[in-house]
Amino acid sequence: MTEMNFAEAMIDGLCVALDSDPSVSIIGRGISGHGAEAAADKRLAPYGDRVLDPPTSEAAVAMLALGASMSGLRMFLHFGTGVFAFEAWNQVVNEAANARYMSGGRLKSPVTFCMFHGLRNGGGPQHSASSQAMYANSPGLEVVMPASPADAKGLALTAIRSDNATVMLVHPSLLSLRADVPAGDYAVPFGQAAVRREGRDVTIVAFSRQVTEALKAAEILAKEGIDAEVLDPRTLVPLDEASILASVRKTGRLVVADETPVHYGCASEIAALVAEKGFGSLKAPVARVARPHTPVPFSPGMEAFLTPDAAKIADAVRRTLAA
């Protein structure tokens, strides 16, 4: 265990992958973002031409990564801001997602598409998208969202070693988050949720940065005598349905904290899962704390108004318990 920030942990995972397998190759720059954490990228310099700085041609670069993955390399491609990956949409959700399946399993597609998502204080209408629900609605893709430094390392490693196309979404405001990270070869299996906090009264399922907000909310609520359980699914596809249902069976109440636009987003999937398979254990209406369904304005106050946070999560929990 060493303490490091999220960006360092993710780069650490990439280095383990590079060191343990000569077929691993990376494309991208600014993997650690543009803030104080950007320095973490320096660790990749020694790998020379195994790390490519690509032209601004997202579609062809995504296909380069996919094609190379079919022909013997394990590719990790970082797009930068997630909206840039919209230029490679067909290439990720229609080419990469289908490649292995439609070959009858004769091809492998060990490619990871990584990107930043979310509201980031001034990103404005065109740089603030959280597109994880869209990827998760594209069969054939594995979709993962680390919320801690350890998971940043462990999920990146598992993604790179998976023979399926995987999409990994990182919230830039998590890059500076510090915590202990297991040293060496540490891989986190897909499809296993993490209980971030145990509780009896309500289940808060939270994704990505909202895990941090949910934990803050839980502290606030604890002072009011409300004991919240915080669950981090970590991977959207495959989703650990069993753990979510088990938690709701215990608490009888569900609040989902997520940054995708509220309609047709990730929170809706969790709510639907429980309404379908956990209905019997529900004592109150499900509550979604997500991004209101509107484009993202630049002005900071308006952006904050749209951003899910601890206070909004706590309010939703109180409403759920009052119901």
Binding site: L64, G67, M70, L73, A99, R100, S103
Partner: protein, 347 residues
């Protein structure tokens, strides 16, 4: 995008090819033709429960055979929706191809891909994309892998002129040239004025686009299998020697039947004797058969040069037709996969 592109046609050095090589080209074209006629038969026979649409390679055999026979067995390829010809040319199991086109359990892709996505890594084929602009960019990816692996093999992108309408086609050409990747861009241009063309480029010649990206280009007559083959050999040598990508364009006259399932030959199916018995050529597509059918033209040429006899031609064609029929007959016996085999998310 009517005219042939810049770059001169490869010097015709017939002497470079011995009889065996020339017959190999002819047989390869016949294999493709008879295979596609087999697909037409399957599509038109209700009992085989054929669904979907296929894009036939008939009329382009000169380009496919000429290019594929210039490749080594380790070379990788990515193809488009119109992929049957390349797979047949490189020796993919035709029984499994027929089965795949019918969605049967013995298909190359276990019936999951169908005509548009036939995949056969055993003969160098990686993913076949039905998205215009898909194969060219995937081929650049395989070339990237080969470069990193310091392999002597090259990657080939088979695609049509439509790929140059798509921005990703341009991006792929640029990246290949930028990083000197070992990829052969094999473009089949079948757009002609009058028809609704499959590309709408403002460029005077298709090849002006790769040329602007600092890549060697050449255009050849796709109906002349030897011209394509000789040009492809030069191109492959260039790419294999590490000099970077090469853009080879084969100009084709679209077979009138290339959109329909229905065969559109004067005689219903190809009749090799039209190579010497031209009086028999008739029907609304007679012009195409007379002027552009690459098989008839090559057979006629070989006869004219006394490189083969009519009997040899007839025998060769019969052999190919018979083996194709047998393979097709086996394929139709293949069962459909169990329906619930669909419920798999990955491999």
């Amino acid at each position: 995008m009517a005219d042939a592109a810049q770059g001169t046609v490869a010097p015709r050095k017939e002497d470079r090819l011995n009889k065996q090589e020339r017959l190999a080209l002819l047989e390869c074209m016949l294999r493709i033709r008879r295979f596609e006629e087999g697909v037409i038969h399957l599509a038109m026979t209700p009992e085989y429960e054929y669904v979907g649409r296929q894009h036939l390679y008939i009329g382009a055999e000169g380009a496919g055979a000429g290019a594929c026979l210039a490749l080594g067995k380790d070379d990788l390829a990515h193809t488009t929706h119109r992929n049957h010809g390349y797979l047949v040319a490189r020796g993919s199991d035709r029984m499994r191809m027929f089965a795949e086109i019918l969605g049967r359990a013995d298909g190359t892709n276990l019936g999951r891909g169908g005509s548009w996505h036939i995949c056969d890594p055993d003969v160098g084929f990686r993913s076949t994309s039905a998205m215009v602009g898909g194969s060219i960019a995937l081929a650049v990816g395989s070339a990237y892998a080969l470069q990193k692996q310091k392999s002597k093999a090259i990657s080939v992108a088979h695609f049509g002129d439509g790929t140059l309408d798509e921005g990703i086609g341009y991006e792929a050409l640029n990246i290949a040239s930028l990083f000197k990747l070992p990829v052969l861009f094999m473009c089949e241009n079948n757009s002609k004025p009058g028809q609704r063309p499959s590309s709408m480029l403002a460029a005077k010649h298709l090849s002006h686009v790769p040329a602007a990206l600092d890549m060697p280009t050449k255009a050849v007559n796709g109906a002349d299998v030897e011209a394509v083959h000789l040009a492809a050999k030069e191109a492959v040598d260039h790419v294999r020697s590490g000099k970077g990508p090469y853009f080879l364009q084969a100009d084709l006259e679209r077979w009138p039947g290339s959109h329909q399932v229905h065969a559109a030959f004067p005689t219903g199916v190809t009749d090799i004797s039209l190579a010497w018995d031209e009086g028999k050529i008739e029907g609304k597509n007679a012009d195409w058969t007379r002027t552009y059918d690459p098989i008839r033209l090559y057979a006629k040429k070989l006869l004219g040069e006394n490189a083969v006899t009519r009997d040899e031609l007839t025998a060769l064609d019969r052999k190919v037709a018979d083996e194709t029929d047998k393979l097709r007959a086996t394929a139709v016996k293949s069962p459909f996969p169990p329906a619930d085999a669909a419920a798999k998310q990955f491999a």
